[in-house]
């Protein structure tokens, strides 16, 4: 039977609607292994017999890991070339983004005045002392964020900034992004750093209605929007094709499907991420959060600073 095999860092519940749609459209069966880490090693260990065709990830770091191991091969697809902008792609097309994910600031609607916070830099301003919450500095999302600051301003400036941010923390970094929203709701802090799509997830959460309240308290602040500013930092979810793939044609079909209109629409409405494809109708609530200008820095450059970012977090003692 026609099939394609996927190693995915993206959770099954998010991926399944997409693969189901793909199978329905093409008749190609999609087999998946989901994992949190170690897939690169799994591919390496299997050598020639590696059964996987594609790797899907939810951030740039994991993509880089596989690429650095030399396991990806370039994807030559006019479809993808057309849809995915260059800064969201590896220079040699070894990987590319499927969606972007803005890492924004959640601010309490009342306790933080509109316009009071504008840029990432502002988070280091002593006036926020004891008012900011974040998750661990070592989380991939924050590593990506810090790496982007290093890529943008250099390590020295980044360190000063991170120290400032650390000094403003209301509590030791802990929990996940949603937990930061909750902390704002509970009054432990007024600002938090989190991915924007969580707003959608909380807002539409019928199983745990209390999360809707959390979301309602929050105003999303896009950073560095002023003209000449770097733009809002984004991370990506992405994919790459493995050198040892056995079903290359199907794999490319799947990739093209994933950047296609239908899949991109699903990403936007089911997971509230920003599609890489332009002109996709997104969710109403997300739309109500407003539009933003995204950082145009090459993600490869950001990814290159991840190790430096991790060390910076240690040096600053961000998590301690």
């Amino acid at each position: 039977a026609e099939e394609v095999n996927l190693y995915s860092y993206r959770q099954q519940s998010l991926l399944q609607p997409l693969t189901d749609a793909f199978t329905e459209e093409t008749g190609i069966k999609v087999n998946v292994v989901h994992a949190a880490k170690g897939l690169a090693e799994k591919i390496k260990a299997a050598g020639e017999n590696n059964p996987a065709d594609l790797v899907l990830t939810v951030d740039i770091g994991r993509l880089e890991e596989v690429r650095a191991a030399g396991l990806f091969e370039a994807v030559n697809s006019p479809v993808i070339d057309e849809v995915v902008p260059a800064h969201l792609r590896h220079p040699d097309n070894l990987w590319f983004a499927l969606t972007t994910r803005a890492r924004v600031v959640y601010a309490h609607k009342d306790r933080v005045k509109e316009g009071e916070l504008n840029s990432l830099k502002d988070l280091a301003d002593p006036k926020w002392e004891g008012r900011i919450c974040t998750r661990s500095g070592k989380h991939v999302y924050n590593i990506g964020l810090i790496a982007s600051v290093i890529a943008e301003d250099g390590e020295v400036a980044a360190e000063t900034w991170l120290k400032g941010l650390k000094a403003n923390l209301a509590r030791k970094p802990q929990g996940n992004d949603r937990a930061q929203a909750k902390a704002i709701f509970e009054g432990q802090c007024d600002l938090a750093i989190a991915n924007r799509y969580y707003m959608g997830k909380m807002f539409y959460n019928t199983k745990s209605p209390e999360q809707q309240e959390w979301a309602e308290q929050i105003r999303v602040v896009y950073l560095d929007q002023d003209i000449g500013g770097r733009g809002q930092h984004i991370n990506i979810s992405g994919a790459g094709l493995l050198k040892t793939a056995k079903n290359k044609d199907n794999a490319i079909k799947l990739l093209e499907f994933l950047v296609g209109e239908k899949a991109q629409g699903l990403y936007a409405t089911a997971n509230y991420e920003e599609p890489v494809r332009t002109g996709i109708k997104t969710d109403e609530f997300i739309e109500s959060l407003g539009d933003f200008k995204a950082d145009r820095i090459s993600l490869q450059e950001v990814a290159d600073q991840r190790a430096a970012a991790a060390r910076l977090v240690d040096r600053v003692g961000y998590d301690m």
């Binding site: 095999n5 959770q11 099954q12 519940s13 998010l14 087999n31 998946v32 292994v33 989901h34 994992a35 949190a36 880490k37 170690g38 897939l39 090693e41 799994k42 390496k44 260990a45 299997a46 050598g47 020639e48 017999n49 059964p51 770091g61 994991r62 880089e64 890991e65 650095a68 661990s136 070592k138 991939v140 590593i143 030791k172 970094p173 802990q174 929990g175 996940n176 992004d177 949603r178 937990a179 909750k182 709701f185 509970e186 009054g187 432990q188 199983k207 745990s208 991840r306 190790a307 970012a309 991790a310 060390r311 240690d314 040096r315 003692g317 998590d319 301690m320």
Partner: protein, 560 residues
């Protein structure tokens, strides 16, 4: 004072030549050492720069946290485990017959789930603080003091709650098997119950208790999810940071080896404790410890003391999860059933295989009477201290090599490619679980075997039974409770196991814990409550089976 100086001093292949059991044990040990050896090879790189960075910044904090965590867990698990075991062995009090096995239940709770539930209840927005606020009219967190939940203390509490059953199980087995006569003797010599406990019962059970604590600590140092949840960076956090964020698998392997050496230290302590108290029951036929009835306040205090860890470690999470599960019943039932089936069958296979391997290993060590052989076997169990994801990598490479070699040979000789024989199927999972959890089965069974006086072997062999038959007819029946214990531990731990399953599973393969993870990692644990609940409930079954068996073996020596 080496007690078996005559027999343990020499280890030579010549002596082993005739004993296939010892060779079998050696082979099992070799198999189990492979992942650690692989990690050792992976660590073969110069990471001076990373180490310099770590030493300059967070390394000592990692170490301090790891040690504090271990210290706390050691203290609490040994207190709770030993205390509860002694209470239920020595006394009768209300509900005891239920508490005896219920005390094991927290074992079935994955620590990250307990962490989630406890935090959920105790943090600022949780039930407890909310109630306090309404009661006392406090407004914000600044109006009152409440212990920080996401702290090392919290991590210690949660880990101790799920890990104390290791100590409880082993301590209880030790107390039950202990010759009641020695305790009686102590009292005849004028020592009170309490004194007799500390001077006779406890020292005699010490090797078993130390084994329990050692297991709990090995599990603590490899723990990642929970400590991350409590925002306590330990060496494990360091491993993943170095591996994933600094992209240095070799440096990660090096830190992992530090954990291994730390557990070598633990095992050294254990060995010391055992050698210092190396003894056997001097006679095989003394009645078991009998229970004395408690009355009045003391009786209810005993009940309450036993109920405390059960309530926090099991009843609380199961209540919370049931609550969630009822709200989320619309999850895909098919997928749930499929995962449940996978989990159960894997756990049963792993429990059987691991117990058999552990038993053969322990018996081989016993037969060899050699301290070197014992060291080899212990080395084989070190993998337990390594975080699962790292161990999985250590298993992946050799398995891949094996698969590819077989494939190549089969292709060359028979033109029949076998592909990924193990890594492509559930075979790798069962094998990996066994290699990881052999520590559990080996240590449990070994602790139990050493309590059988060698004279039993002597008597059996004089009566014409070979080693194998002796194992079957003498040792197995005598250590049956421990065999069941080993199976239970592996079963429950396999049900909970996540990192290895995630990495080694074949395509489209889910277990209950991967299903829990799928949603939990999306920060929606509530929605996978049914799967989580099943993991917990699955723990009850073997616990009950086992309690019956321990119970019956306890009744037997008591006669009447």
């Amino acid at each position: 004072m080496s007690t078996t100086a005559n027999s343990t001093s020499s280890f030579s292949l010549a002596r082993l030549r005739f004993d296939p059991w010892v060779w079998l044990a050696l082979a099992i040990a070799a198999l189990a050492i492979i992942p650690i050896a692989t990690i050792l090879m992976l660590s073969w790189a110069d990471n001076q720069e990373i180490w310099q960075h770590l030493l300059d910044t967070v390394f000592w904090i990692y170490v301090k946290n790891t040690l504090l965590l271990c210290l706390g867990v050691a203290v609490f698990t040994s207190l709770m485990g030993t205390g509860a075991a002694w209470l239920v062995t020595r006394f009768n009090f209300p509900l005891k017959s239920v508490l005896v096995w219920a005390l094991l239940l927290p074992l079935a709770v994955p620590s990250y789930i307990l962490a989630f539930v406890i935090t959920d209840q105790l943090e600022y927005a949780g039930f407890v603080q909310k109630t306090l606020r309404t009661l006392f009219g406090w407004q914000t967190a600044r109006d009152y003091w409440f212990p920080e939940i996401r702290s090392i203390q919290g991590a210690i509490a949660v880990l101790s709650l799920v890990l104390y059953p290791y100590v409880y199980l082993l301590a209880r087995a030790a107390f039950v098997e202990q010759a009641a006569q020695l305790f009686e003797m102590s009292r005849c010599l004028g020592k009170s119950q309490t004194q007799s406990f500390f001077k006779v019962a406890l020292p005699l059970a010490r090797p078993a208790i130390v084994v329990g604590v050692t297991l709990a600590l090995m599990e603590t140092i490899n723990e990642y999810g929970t400590v991350e949840f409590f925002a306590v960076p330990t060496l494990t956090a360091g491993i993943f940071d170095v591996w994933l964020n600094m992209s240095s698998l070799s440096a990660a392997a090096q830190i992992a080896l530090m954990l291994v050496s730390f557990s070598i230290l633990l095992l050294g302590l254990e060995r010391y404790s055992r050698n210092a108290g190396k003894f056997y029951k001097l006679t095989g036929q003394s009645p078991a410890m009998f229970a004395e009835p408690l009355s009045g306040f003391k009786a209810w205090l005993a009940t309450a003391l036993c109920l405390l860890p059960i309530s926090l470690g099991f009843i609380l999470p199961i209540t919370v999860l049931t609550n969630y599960a009822l709200r989320n019943l619309d999850q895909g039932l098919d997928q749930y059933l499929n995962s449940a089936w996978n989990s159960f069958s894997l756990a049963i296979m792993a429990a059987l295989l691991t117990t058999v391997l552990g038993l053969l290993l322990a018996y081989g060590v016993r037969l060899s009477k050699s301290n070197k052989m014992r060291s080899i076997a212990e080395a084989a169990t070190l993998g337990y201290a390594i975080p699962g994801a790292v161990l999985a990598v250590g298993i992946l490479y050799p398995l891949g090599l094996f698969d590819n070699t077989v494939d190549r040979l089969m292709k060359a000789w028979f033109d029949y490619p076998t592909g990924l024989l193990l890594t492509g199927t559930g075979g790798a999972l069962v094998l990996a679980y066994s290699l990881r959890f052999i520590a559990l089965s080996y240590r449990t069974l070994d602790a139990s075997l050493t309590k059988i006086t060698p004279e039993m072997d002597d008597a059996s062999r004089i009566l014409g039974s070979r080693s194998g038959k002796t194992l079957w007819r003498i040792h197995l029946p005598l250590i049956r409770p421990s065999v069941l214990t080993a199976m239970l531990l592996v079963f429950v731990d396999t049900m909970k196991e996540l990192p290895i399953t995630l990495i080694l599973r074949p395509f489209n393969f889910d277990t209950l814990s991967t299903q829990v993870w799928d949603l939990a990692s999306l920060e929606q644990l509530e929605q996978s409550a049914l799967a989580a609940l099943t993991i917990l409930l699955a723990g009850i079954i073997p616990v009950i089976i086992m309690s019956r068996n321990i119970g019956s073996s306890e009744r037997r020596p008591q006669g009447q």
